[in-house]
Symmetry: C2
Subunit: 133 residues, 2 copies
């Protein structure tokens, strides 16, 4: 498989890319910052700092935490958090669709066969015409 | 300004993103790995390792070095190197074009005003409807 990821950078603010998107997604799915952090193999503090950065970028909270405190209670995305995530995924899909042909040629050049499961026949060191067109 | 960058990841190989693209570009412009590395504030070794990684990904050299040795002589992109870079930039442009509307809304949500130079009127903490649509 070939994956295309996007990253958006704003003037004077932190960017938004696959890591923050995945974190928001995991908070939504797991209902907890701690469990989302664990799923990404990062510390609670690291996850919290990332979410705070997203909040700074978009100017309002992207998650809400239930009673029980930030650590104990559950967490879910705010409307803004959901909108940011949805927009990011849409942009990612658009980028992929707009590059269907290019990505396939890029992957071929990198020795990735998209059409079948078997290993490509060409040897690894041969200059691949796929990337040279 | 809002920037969109892309990254392509291949199964079992290292990915290709803005850093490697910039490095290839700088080698082409400066005609030297050392000067390209300096322009990116990385060590010669670091640049060399990145270029070796790109070579592994695409299965053939992406730069050639002139007589005088890897360190002393000049360097330029091979045909493959040029093709990889050109394709990457094309994919980046396609991704941007496909997301013109989305990016503008995303940027608005992040308090970035694309239409004029003056500072946006809304305050920083206010929940921005721009990102919520």
């Amino acid at each position: 498989m070939v994956h295309l990821t996007i990253r958006v950078d704003f003037d004077g603010k932190e960017g938004f890319g696959p890591g923050k998107a995945r974190l928001l997604e995991l908070v939504a799915v797991k209902g907890s910052i701690r469990r989302a952090a664990a799923a990404m193999e990062m510390s609670y503090r690291q996850a919290w700092l990332l979410l705070a950065a997203v909040e700074r970028t978009f100017g309002a909270p992207v998650i809400t935490t239930a009673t029980g405190g930030t650590k104990g209670g559950g967490a879910k995305l705010t409307e803004l958090g959901e909108a940011v995530l949805a927009r990011y995924r849409r942009m990612e899909r658009n980028a992929l669709q707009a590059n269907a042909t290019e990505i396939s040629a890029f992957a071929k050049g990198a020795g990735q066969d998209l059409s079948r499961k078997s290993a490509p026949k060409r040897t690894r060191r041969r200059l691949s015409p796929g990337a040279g067109s």
